[in-house]
């Protein structure tokens, strides 16, 4: 079957053990305000414009049949509502300032692309990770990809927000060697405020997965002014300690590397002005999971 993805990132060293190829699914049901991959929210293709690459040759304007582009004295302006994503502008843009984010692909083709680096997985350890966006929104596609990988004896991992039903999760578990998920904020109401959804089902799925014997890595993105305090991290550690299972718990520092993408996609960055997490804060907070034995 076909799925929609944003990219396949090779040589990833942060999405599971060893050297990995990561498949980023397009479409997410959460709206974490600090998200550094906003291109994965929308389950449809999007036109991206990177102004720093634009040489202002106006080729896009001349080839576009739908009057998406306009410019006066100032920079190029896009009327995204008129765009039907035909790709003419992308094809003709010399500076590669324009691109379409999102690619439809069959599970077989995605797996073939991922497995083209099999030799490196074998010699360097590692494997394939499906990330997002939210993979569970395209569970059947992911299952097909993972099944092909497992048949090739490749280590597999999924990075999910675990908001899916247990039925969906358990349907994949035979093909997943490592589950990775976020526990972003402990309090459900606050979770909803910052991500658009409560976290009851996430906690439930974490507990269920862990107690089913799955190998699980839980991560908390530490966001300045949101969850960067001892109390918040402590509560999460408390919860994870109460769950019996094979859990690794990590803290990830917030960074601003994805900020530029919002503008490029015509989206609003809700945390503009937020700064990278102070490394001293991260180091201080890291002691808490250590105290809990993580």
């Amino acid at each position: 079957m076909k799925g929609i993805i944003t990219a396949i990132q090779r040589m990833s060293i942060h999405d599971g053990p060893g050297l990995r190829s990561t498949l980023f699914m397009k479409g997410c049901n959460l709206r974490c305000r600090w998200c550094h991959n906003p291109e994965t929210w929308n389950p449809l293709k999007q036109l991206q414009h990177i102004p720093s690459r634009c040489m202002e040759c106006h080729t896009c304007q001349s080839v576009c049949r739908y009057d998406v582009f306009s410019s006066g004295e100032g920079p190029l302006e896009l009327d995204r509502k008129s765009c039907i994503l035909c790709g003419d502008c992308v094809e003709n843009c010399p500076g590669e300032a324009l691109s379409i984010v999102g690619r439809e692909i069959t599970a077989g083709d995605a797996a073939a692309e991922l497995l083209s680096d099999k030799v490196f997985f074998e010699t360097a350890g590692g494997g394939v990770t499906i990330s997002g966006g939210e993979p569970l929104l395209q569970a059947e596609f992911c299952r097909e990809v993972l099944e092909i990988c497992k048949n090739e004896d490749i280590h597999t991992a999924i990075e999910s927000n675990l908001t899916g039903s247990w039925q969906v999760i358990s349907g994949l578990s035979d093909y997943v060697d490592l589950w990775m998920c976020d526990l972003k904020i402990y309090d459900s109401a606050k979770h909803k405020e910052w991500t658009g959804a409560g976290n009851e089902i996430i906690k439930e799925n974490i507990a269920r997965l862990a107690m089913s014997g799955a190998v699980l890595t839980v991560r908390t993105p530490v966001i300045p002014g949101v969850n960067d305090d001892e109390n918040e991290i402590g509560k999460m550690c408390e919860f994870l300690s109460s769950v019996h299972g094979n859990i690794v718990y990590e803290l990830l520092p917030f960074h601003t590397l994805g900020f530029e993408k919002y503008g490029n996609l015509g989206m609003r960055n809700q945390v503009e002005g937020m700064k990278d997490l102070d490394t001293a804060v991260l180091e201080r907070l890291k002691r808490i999971p250590e105290q809990y034995g993580f």
Partner: protein, 714 residues
């Protein structure tokens, strides 16, 4: 480690740094190896010409010059160093002219210029001596061997041949003897007990090997150093050998006798390595496939870590390699970030060399002992890394020739290119033939003959049928420029039609001038370039590889024992080759450096570049036992201790896929930029420019710029 040894190594490093600064101050920049050479005293020795052009040519002149230099060459003894001797004079570079004008090659000159060929005529060394024979025979044994063959080959010219080699050996012995005398004199007058002991030991070690073969690790190292220094002086020969298996018996014997411990061995090897960044191989299979790693392989790596200067150690990776050696090697690569060690891939090298009709046993003995090159120690004459065809220039010739044709097509351009490439390769081969015919009258190999199997036995120079095998190297350069140019034309001129042929020619002729030129250049850069898997560029690179390989192989002459072997390598010529070529349809500006060896042009993919690079370069190998190295600019953020298994994995994967040699650079961008601005800020910054490492401040500004660009673009 013993505190005294640590202190001595620290002093040696400091002295080395000062010597490098001195070289830069007195002689200016150098876009080559460090070589370990130091500045000679002014006016001490001058060449003795035997030709009106001021140069010297032929057997007698080379012997006269070398022996006269040895007679006065300064003595070098350092109480912190376990070994005596440094070299100072680039004899071959001191000549006014490198080719004897009595043997002109005017019939080749037009094409050499036209295709910007580095023809190798008059070039020297670049094949490997058999150090094992050297340490078994010693100088006395070599003299006895020559004396014996004097009774076998008795024609007057043969006797003369032998006498010249005997003179050379005695000159080297004289040089060593003067070190013995000086060390004794220093020992006698020294009041510091530590230094006194050091001078006594240096004198004794050298006295022991004046005639006799070395018996201890220290003597073996000192013997190798003397041969090497003499050979470097003679004609810059820098080939190494399988250093661990060479020294293993001495090391183990000393340990057994209780005259050596590991600490002292590390100190000896540190002194040995700082003497000269020779290309030594560690690990790898012996002729029967057994891994040659032993304890001394680790001793050598630990010693390299101690001195951590410009080094050219290569680890030969094969299925049976001791995993601990591989791990240790990558750990030091990551820890020191000084471009050492390098890694060579046994599987493809052996399988490739066997395709020339050689046995597996022989193929395993062909080891990594030069910048990009492999050699059978003592058995072959190769002209390795000396003959290069600038394929970007060949492309330019073919492209320009069709400029005003109305019926021009991609197919026509390809056919024209292959025709010119064939002529260029044949010109290079003819140059080699010319060299082989007359090199003995120009620059005989009086030093390398001594440790080769054949020249002494046959009384013929290694360049003149004296060697056992003639495996002659021709390297192609600028592969990515050519492949990407064809790909850009296929995609944007004949494919999408975004650019017409006249527009393309106009843009290239004007070096992509003006906004329209820049627009066209950017469109051309949007091509699926070589390096990206299954791209148009890769398809063209493979086509170029196939044609080049066939052309080079076709030059072989089995009846003359001449086997021509293709490779892809540009050495430090990327800048010079680039200057000779105008703008190219891949979007490269006129005069900019050509692509490096077999590497894709920088920026060829946006994601997973290291993996794509490893795959592309493995796939592009000509496959006959010479290398097409992968020059890997490893992201410093990945080069961390905890990523050692991943880096190790990428190296192994490249070799599993068919790769032959990996040169790695791990450069901190900010540091390189600062050093480029003010080289004096980082006097000990080492970069692996290509097959060789160099001190960054020693490089010329244009070469430093090349290194900076490469790092920024990656």
């Amino acid at each position: 480690m013993d505190k005294i040894h640590d202190t001595r190594i620290r002093h040696l490093r400091e002295r080395k740094l000062a010597q490098t600064q001195e070289k830069l101050r007195v002689e200016g920049s150098l876009d080559e190896d460090d070589y370990g050479r130091i500045v000679p005293p002014e006016g001490l020795w001058h060449t003795i010409p035997n030709h009106p052009d001021g140069s010297f040519y032929g057997y007698d002149a080379w012997a006269d010059n070398f022996c006269s230099l040895m007679d006065v060459h300064p003595v070098y003894i350092d109480p912190d160093d376990a070994f005596a001797g440094r070299w100072m004079y680039f004899m071959s570079k001191m000549r006014k002219n490198k080719w004897n004008p009595a043997y002109p090659y005017t019939h080749l000159e037009e094409n050499i210029r036209k295709y910007d060929i580095i023809c190798g005529i008059g070039d020297d060394a670049h094949f490997a001596p058999d150090y094992e024979m050297g340490v078994k025979l010693g100088w006395g044994g070599l003299i006895r061997k020559i004396e014996y063959y004097k009774t076998v080959n008795t024609a007057p010219e043969q006797i003369h041949f032998y006498d010249l080699h005997l003179r050379v050996i005695r000159a080297v012995q004289g040089w060593i003897g003067r070190h013995v005398a000086k060390a004794e004199e220093l020992a006698a007058s020294e009041t510091d007990p530590g230094k006194k002991q050091s001078f006594v030991e240096i004198a004794q070690t050298n006295r022991n090997i004046l005639e006799d073969a070395p018996k201890t690790l220290r003597e073996a190292c000192q013997w190798i150093i003397w041969y090497h220094l003499a050979s470097r002086t003679y004609n810059r020969d820098g080939a190494g050998g399988q250093i661990d298996s060479l020294l293993q018996p001495f090391y183990e014997n000393d340990l057994e006798k209780g005259t050596l411990d590991r600490d002292k061995a590390v100190y000896y090897m540190a002194c040995f390595l700082i003497n000269d960044p020779v290309y030594w191989q560690l690990g790898g299979p012996d002729e029967n496939g057994k891994d040659q790693t032993s304890e001394i392989s680790f001793v050598i790596l630990d010693a390299a870590d101690k001195i951590n200067t410009s080094l050219n150690i290569t680890v030969r990776v094969h299925d049976g390699l001791d995993e601990r050696l591989m791990k240790k090697a990558v750990e030091y690569l990551v820890k020191n970030r000084n471009g050492w060690p390098r890694f060579s891939g046994d599987q493809a090298l052996v399988a490739g060399f066997m395709k020339n009709g050689f046995s597996k046993e022989l193929a395993r003995k062909r080891i990594a002992v030069g910048c990009n090159w492999m050699s059978l120690p003592g058995l072959e004459y190769t002209l390795n890394d000396l003959v290069k065809v600038n394929m970007a220039k060949v492309f330019e010739v073919a492209f320009k020739e069709l400029e005003h044709r109305n019926d021009i097509s991609l197919q026509m351009l390809w056919e024209n290119f292959t025709e010119h490439l064939g002529i260029a390769v044949h010109t290079a081969a003819e140059g080699i033939r010319h060299h082989l015919r007359y090199q003995k009258y120009n620059e005989p190999e009086l030093l390398l003959n001594l440790l080769s199997h054949g020249p002494i036995e046959k009384a013929r120079d290694a360049s003149d049928d004296g060697a056992e095998y003639y495996n002659l190297a021709i390297d192609g350069a600028g592969l990515a420029i050519v492949a990407d140019s064809f790909a850009a034309i296929e995609e944007h001129v004949e494919g999408s039609g975004q650019i017409s042929w006249p527009q393309l020619y106009h843009a290239v002729d004007s070096d992509f001038g003006g906004p329209e030129g820049e627009r066209i250049r950017l469109i051309l850069r949007k091509t699926g370039r070589y390096g990206k898997e299954n791209s148009t560029g890769e398809k063209w690179a493979l086509r170029v590889r196939d044609v080049f390989t066939v052309d080079v192989r076709a030059e072989s002459e089995p009846e003359l024992r001449r086997c021509f072997i293709p490779g892809f390598f540009s050495w430090a010529n990327t800048v010079g080759f680039g200057e000779a070529v105008g703008a190219t349809p891949d979007g490269r500006h006129a005069g900019k450096p050509i692509s490096h060896g077999a590497n894709p042009s920088p920026g060829f993919v946006t994601d997973g570049a290291s993996l794509s690079l490893a795959k592309a370069v493995a796939k592009i190998q000509p496959g006959y036992g010479n290398t097409a190295p992968m020059q890997w600019e490893l992201d410093p953020t990945m080069a961390r201790g905890d990523n050692v298994p991943l880096i190790e994995g990428i190296i192994k994967a490249h070799f599993k896929l068919g790769g032959t040699l990996i040169n790695v650079n791990i450069m901190d961008k900010e540091k390189v930029l600062e050093a480029h601005k003010d080289p004096s800020k980082y006097p000990d910054l080492v970069v692996r420019v290509t097959g060789f490492t160099a001190y960054f401040p020693m490089l010329s500004p244009r070469f430093r710029q090349l290194v900076v660009d490469r790092i920024l673009e990656n």
